[in-house]
Point group: C2
């Protein structure tokens, strides 16, 4: 089997809510970009539980619906800010990250309205850098705008985006999580073999799960905050299983536990 240079985009999201709080205040949504590619929106609403969820939900919805209409990422982030600030009179904040794989420009666009950095790993030697320019949450101050970075879509790129629950994991117990060291160690330990015989590895999923598991472990099984991790990886496309390399299968999956509970009052039809 030839080795060839086709790329695969992998996106993995893993999230848990704060311990003993049924609803995460973080919201993640994905949407197709009308000119090709996909955008992912990650919002962390102020505080936790139901009120935070309501905030992160409306912010994510606003951003996603603008992105679906073809609005550019920077404008969508500004609009989401203006919308939240108007709706809640500048009293409620949220962090907002938009990560887009833009097939029209062949770039990954990372928009930050969050104090959390974004980790970027590139190249075969896993060079690691941080997108950590000062950036403010949306909803409070006038004319808030995102800090935007644009990266080329190239092999062996990993972009790791998260809410502050990941950054502060373990701090209560004097065991802070060294995120950059963890990411570097993980990627080096899980280097895919170069042989084409290797089973396709879902690198983004493995890394997202490992980060979340480590955060929960450092919080001794009881996360002190909502934790959401997003990993976006550009990797070698595994050899297609259908005997024809031009057959491009697209896959999307969602898994979540269904809480025990009673029926509510919102009929669906």
């Amino acid at each position: 089997m030839d080795s060839y240079n086709d790329l695969e985009l992998q996106v993995a999201v893993a999230k848990v809510s704060k311990y003993a709080v049924s609803e995460s205040g973080d919201t993640v949504e994905t949407i197709e970009r009308p000119h090709g590619g996909l955008s992912l929106v990650l919002v962390d609403g102020q505080r936790s539980g139901k009120s935070a969820k309501a905030i992160s939900n409306i912010v994510a919805r606003k951003a996603v619906s603008l992105l679906a209409d073809g609005v550019r990422d920077g404008a969508a982030a500004r609009a989401a800010h203006d919308y939240l600030r108007t709706l809640r009179s500048g009293q409620v904040s949220a962090t907002l990250n938009i990560v887009s794989v833009d097939l029209a420009t062949r770039t990954i666009v990372v928009s930050r309205n969050s104090h959390c950095p974004v980790i970027v790993v590139t190249g075969p030697n896993d060079s690691l850098s941080l997108l950590d320019e000062p950036s403010e949450a949306i909803g409070i101050h006038a004319r808030t705008r995102p800090v935007i970075a644009e990266l080329p879509i190239t092999l062996d790129t990993h972009v790791i985006v998260f809410t502050d629950g990941l950054m502060t994991a373990g701090e209560r117990h004097g065991q802070p999580l060294d995120l950059t060291a963890f990411v570097r160690d993980h990627l080096q330990a899980h280097e895919p073999a170069t042989s084409a015989q290797t089973l396709p590895i879902f690198q983004a999923g493995t890394l997202a799960d490992a980060l979340l598991a480590r955060a929960v472990e450092l919080d001794q099984g009881r996360p002190g905050d909502d934790v959401s991790v997003v990993v976006l990886s550009v990797v070698t496309r595994p050899a297609p299983g259908f005997g024809d390399r031009d057959l491009a299968v697209r896959r999307l999956t969602v898994r979540f536990p269904i809480p025990a509970g009673v029926a509510g009052a919102f009929p669906a039809s």
Copy 2:
């Protein structure tokens, strides 16, 4: 380890485009429901390629944005129809399926505007039934409305939704795909063991991939139409890996090949 009755929702989407056509005319989007749960929208635009994609995109976007606002599924389907019919003067059709896991009513709501049936499998003996009441595509006739079925969220439920590329796979070669037989055989062959030691199986993903692979195989590696398969499964929740059964991890993944190509004219920032 105790066995317990917590449930997991699994959603898997797998799609390929018609052979030698770069863009699938089918669009799939998911969105959180504001009162809890998730909705999935599957649209097949008339014909294939770029024009079909443009149609399925705007229909999916309209439906998703209404569902995100809390609009009930039946009203969202009617609105998507009215919107497409107005926009394209009743000249262009699309099939539309909405599948919602509504945690407020604890039901799975299946809305069909498609001639394709939906396969429903329930219970430990894999009882199989079809949702196949006559139903018409959106966009053409006045006052089109969806055919809606509501199923309880119960263990061992599988809902299989697809576009007509799956139904007609292999017909050109005199080898039609017997979908119900295939689904039944697959589920019986992949019954999860009852032991709690078993690794968690991603049943929805396995079934969606198997259906797509079989369709492509019957089309001799060259799908005669866009093929999209959605499987939604309610299964036993695997034992959590973090030593605490109350930690409810939610996961979302996307994987797709990045086509080689040139940069376009739509800057993202």
